[in-house]
Subunit: 352 residues, 2 copies
């Protein structure tokens, strides 16, 4: 006689059940729950008590439909799996986002897309289905088309870093120029005169800016500083290092990398070539991931607080969705953390 589906014994209470039990109308329950003015305090308390007693919580689907909001924020990851996996940034960023979203009753919808072609479709789909109220725009690119796209889709957004074009969205940024400059200053102070920077893909603004900051800092100190572009992967970080160290003349005595993963691969390449870090070659990373502290030699790196970044970005996006006008936010700048992988420049020739 009983139906075959009875998952979770008994139908869940709806707002109508609560209203009936409390002897009021549906509307009043709704008012009480969203504590609107114009509800008698005693009534309100009674309604809330009944709701709590019945274990009722508003169904998000119904709420979404009537309020035309999704109570969810989206993050689209475009990087290749390999690179996302090695990069500690996103997990930390997400943890920070979550810290804000969870108490605000919002959820994070994650979409990861392998090839760049589908990226726009992913945003379109998120918007068409009304799956999210806003999105985080990470890994900004030059003249990023996503800004116009996301705006035309009617989504709110916040950018991680400043776009290089006019943007309708608030930006939350961490200035990494100082960190890069500090690294160069640190290395020059150690006697290095020929530096190199292994950058991430110049399609990405932050990689580009780090490269530019590196070149500016080198020029300011009057030292040579060349840049090699990679895709951010350990593989290419290693290859770039191999290439740099193979130079007959003008071989760098210090290499800065745009992330820790590449820096570690760089250290490995140097060691494999018989060099000692930092004796023959100084190396510095970026992001200051946990592992940087625990390798040998421990890795000099530039630290950014990704968790905080996520939290602030989430707050900004929520405010933006709530139509609170918002200025751009600058977080505490990235700072250099000196460890063992950087040391005095070798005297004459890097190899004994």
């Amino acid at each position: 006689m009983s139906d075959e589906t009875h998952a979770g014994r008994g139908r869940r209470p709806t707002i109508a059940d609560v209203a009936q039990r409390a002897g009021v109308s549906k509307g009043l329950v709704s008012f009480a729950l969203n504590d609107r003015p114009g509800v008698n305090v005693a009534t309100r308390d009674r309604i809330l008590a009944v709701a709590a007693e019945m274990g009722w919580a508003p169904d998000l689907r119904a709420r979404s439909l009537s309020t035309n909001r999704s109570f969810a924020l989206g993050l689209v990851l475009r990087r290749d799996t390999e690179i996302v996996a090695g990069d500690p940034f996103f997990p930390a960023f997400i943890a920070g986002v979550e810290r804000e979203l969870s108490p605000a009753g919002q959820a994070l919808v994650l979409a990861s897309v392998a090839t760049g072609l589908l990226e726009a479709d992913t945003y379109r789909k998120l918007a068409a289905e009304r799956r999210v109220d806003g999105v985080f725009l990470a890994d900004l690119r030059a003249g990023d088309e996503r800004l116009a796209l996301v705006e035309s889709l009617g989504l709110s957004a916040v950018t991680l870093g400043h776009p290089d074009i006019e943007s309708p969205f608030p930006a939350v940024s961490v200035d990494d120029v100082d960190g890069v400059a500090a690294t160069v200053t640190h290395l020059v102070g150690l006697g290095h005169r020929t530096l190199a920077h292994v950058a991430g893909s110049h399609d990405m603004l932050h990689a580009r800016r780090r490269s530019a900051a590196f070149e500016v800092a080198c020029a300011a100190h009057g030292v040579e500083g060349r840049v090699v572009e990679t895709d951010f992967s350990a593989r290419q970080g290693g290859e770039a290092t191999r290439m740099l160290l193979a130079e007959e003349s003008g071989r760098p005595t210090a290499i800065t990398y745009s992330n820790d993963l590449m820096a570690l691969a760089g250290v490995a390449v140097a060691q494999r070539a018989g060099m000692s870090v930092p004796h023959d070659l100084s190396v510095s990373g970026f992001d200051d991931s946990d592992i940087a502290r625990y390798v040998y030699p421990s890795l000099t790196s530039v630290a950014t607080d990704a968790v905080e970044w996520g939290a602030v970005a989430a707050r900004s996006l929520l405010a933006s969705i709530a139509r609170v006008p918002l200025a751009d936010t600058e977080l505490t700048p990235a700072r250099l953390v000196v460890r063992e992988s950087t040391g005095p420049a070798p005297q004459t020739h890097p190899r004994r």
Copy 2:
């Protein structure tokens, strides 16, 4: 005269607009879209054409409300930020999940919770709000209370690995026993007679099983094999190594770690103590993260295909939600990847 909010010019078309334009009723549009039987082929094509022309896509919120499904799956991460960040497993797993979910019109809702106390509440909230149709249960623990909780909440689920208790949910597992056994065999074959395993927290079943497999394998080979428990972090991986290497007698000549992060920290500790890897100490990791290939010495590790795991888990969960009865799935077992960090045992005493 025009209102101040006109984000996305013009109201989006609803199913009623499509119906009117196609000269049919709402219901028929719905039927056509979900290609139900009983719709004239010509009519169906016309409806679809009109819908496409108007750029209409069903509003997920409305769909969710009427079908009582959320079209979203949840993943709750409980680990500390530090550990999640260093671990390549989740990003890869998520990429695999996404590969299946996206074409199926489903989304992934991510929740990360810092302290264990709130974990149950997170599942409860996900269920109470009807935010997701099912969840992935990762990092299973002994007698995991989440199984009963999630079932009582009426959610579907799939477990990553086999629980140690009766489970109402399908399991998708990768057997890592073979990989661990292969590692021990490999090391014993290299002449090692005193091994150690630096395990993750024994609260987690997979850490526990790897430890057990290690002990069984050592016993089978008649060699000594001790286990040290950690929390999976690089810090504790390093500390465990320090402790093991400080032993006066019975110091291991080979250490296997339950993840690559700890293994790297272990290598660093050994090198810092003046030992050479693999000359004085052999080291192996677990997960075969990208970086394992690119460090020096490159890291022997046990590889599991996390992307595939995610994809299969997602498929299973979707099937489970669709009430398709499902057997447990075993993926291709973890396999040992031998690299430079393991070598012949030192002759007499591990140090020179």
